[in-house]
Symmetry: C2
Subunit: 418 residues, 2 copies
Amino acid sequence: MATGTLLYAQSGGVTAVINASASAVIQAARAKKVRVLGARNGILGALREELVDASKLSAAEVRALAHTPGGAFGSCRVKLKSLQADRAKYERLLEVFRAHDVRWFLYNGGNDSADTALKVSQLAAEFGYPLTCVGVPKTVDNDLAVTDCCPGFGSAAKYTAVSLRECALDVAAMAETSTKVFVYEAMGRHAGWLAAAAGLAGTGANDAPHIILFPERAYDEADFLARVDAVVKRVGHCVVAASEGIRGADGKFVADAGAGTDSFGHAQLGGVASHLAGRVKDMLGHKVHWALPDYLQRSARHIASKTDLEQALAVGRAAVECALAGQNAVMPVIVRTNDSPYRWHVDIAPLAKIANHEKKMPASFIRKDGYGITAAARRYLTPLIAGEAPPPYGKEGLPAYVEPKLTLVRKKLPAWAG
Amino acid sequence: MATGTLLYAQSGGVTAVINASASAVIQAARAKKVRVLGARNGILGALREELVDASKLSAAEVRALAHTPGGAFGSCRVKLKSLQADRAKYERLLEVFRAHDVRWFLYNGGNDSADTALKVSQLAAEFGYPLTCVGVPKTVDNDLAVTDCCPGFGSAAKYTAVSLRECALDVAAMAETSTKVFVYEAMGRHAGWLAAAAGLAGTGANDAPHIILFPERAYDEADFLARVDAVVKRVGHCVVAASEGIRGADGKFVADAGAGTDSFGHAQLGGVASHLAGRVKDMLGHKVHWALPDYLQRSARHIASKTDLEQALAVGRAAVECALAGQNAVMPVIVRTNDSPYRWHVDIAPLAKIANHEKKMPASFIRKDGYGITAAARRYLTPLIAGEAPPPYGKEGLPAYVEPKLTLVRKKLPAWAG
């Protein structure tokens, strides 16, 4: 039995499978008889000393987390700045860690979270406090460096491809006398991974989505409208998958919700689909509909990818192994060794190579004309949405998701003034 | 072997299970060795003599239709007017029917379609043409009279309840530092059935959806905003399910997409969620997100309700039995005999009782304060979303939906000039 406590925290936008990583972390730690605490609402809980006693969760609850979307411990959008600028916060973290004998800190998030975990590990070293910091990858945006893919993305990608295929069948059936152009808005601020996943819905030249708009390519309205009209003439209808983050040649977001920026400094977006639909209607006169699935796409555990679930579980387990082995400032990552049949394993990468980097889609994944995906993109994406992993359902017809009661451990420090 | 041809047509908005009714119709007719034609794009195909030869569909294709959303033969939004106003069209229909020896006409749609089927049967009687017209119920709006529920609704309701539950877990996890108010927009022009289905996502006073807005109650912005704010203060976040058709006390739709009216004369709506979200942000200052699933909610065969699928199959089979038995101007309907355990059977109702009627939700289904559903609503709705009926999946991770090649029979008449 290792002495000390393992602290697990969730960060940033939650996914359909981040709780699966949490489940794997808790199960792996329990197998090693290591005490686990969960930070309430991510790093905020660590700062406030709001720490969930994971030992109060039953084995059944922990197992059920693996099929429950959302973030069971709560997550947050709070980014710590540099060690200089936010020194008091980092020192407070170490104070809380020391008070609860936290020797292993697992931070489940994206590139911002990798940066925080890295800085915490640096300050601990500076203070001579024995702490092992390990990142656990997660993001529907699939924009983490080093790892071949990010847990959370595959399920959102499967939701996207399946939904696109389904609504395309609907539109095709009705197009003669009803909606001729349908616009689906996919998440993805700067990288068009989810918009690309929509491309898996069809394979033939006349299959939906007929047009994909990527943030990696400048949006040209006149060219877009001409293509929409040509597809309507050729196919009878046109289904568009648009990334929320598309920008014009001037670099400005096509649709800015006007909500300013979030606490990570990212512009808050929304409304690309409604903007495009409006332009199609006004300029081409076609009847249009649009869909904005928003959080539905990242929380759709009911249509999770089996590959994604297995990887979320694997990185959780691996993170505990790394931590207990004292591998500091690292993150388990997915390494792909073959596309078809798909083969992958978990490797360990330094957080320094991941923190604050943002992986864009390879240019080779976007068709030369800029409006579709290539065979290389299909080879990459297909295994990530493969396999089904439905949750159990209750007899009332709803998935048997759990919302465990969270018991906080007694505080040992004065309240945080930050 | 009965002589003559059975013509099947799909009408109005398609659903996740209308093709299941088509599958049942074809299988039931084949079992009786009756020839089946399908009208291409609903009544338009009948007018244009664009008739699909269903005998060209393989048994596997017909079976696969039962797990494929959309409308395999094509549907349309075309409403025939009165026998006087559209007499030439009705006569053309009979001319086409006579040319192809159509003795049974099955029209799969909502209350407008029931009206068309009824009028065709009246004209056939007037002309002494032996024709049996049978409606097959279908609509996600659940607004057909007589029948206890409408095939198509249960699956859309299940999609709604599951999606609401999933995104609510997401919002709850992030609310402290991110989105505090989430608005989900459900279909339903005049009846709040799908918004009510969202209510199944939670049972406790603090469970999402915290507020439901029904078209049956006048929307009062000040009261709504005060409730949102109170929920945010009490729970930490607020999830709203809003029907697209809500109207203010003045009777005007809260959000009109400005697209005018469709060919049924219904206002084309959209944008309630974005409107409400904007008001919450401007008046209360909370960070908001919203989702508009649009066609995704009615085409989501991947999350179909087993009850709904079984009823869609049952009404298809029953319609063929009625037709072959010469029961004219009728529609198979669902009769419920018990809520729990759920028991139902198919009965036969006259089209005259269904045509052009619109069933609203019983007042007893809406909570006294107007913002939630009652126990009676739960008793009614729960069995309709019960059971799972997932489609088979291919190894590429997508449902194995079929898009059968449609072969038209040779035309026998001059082109339709209408």
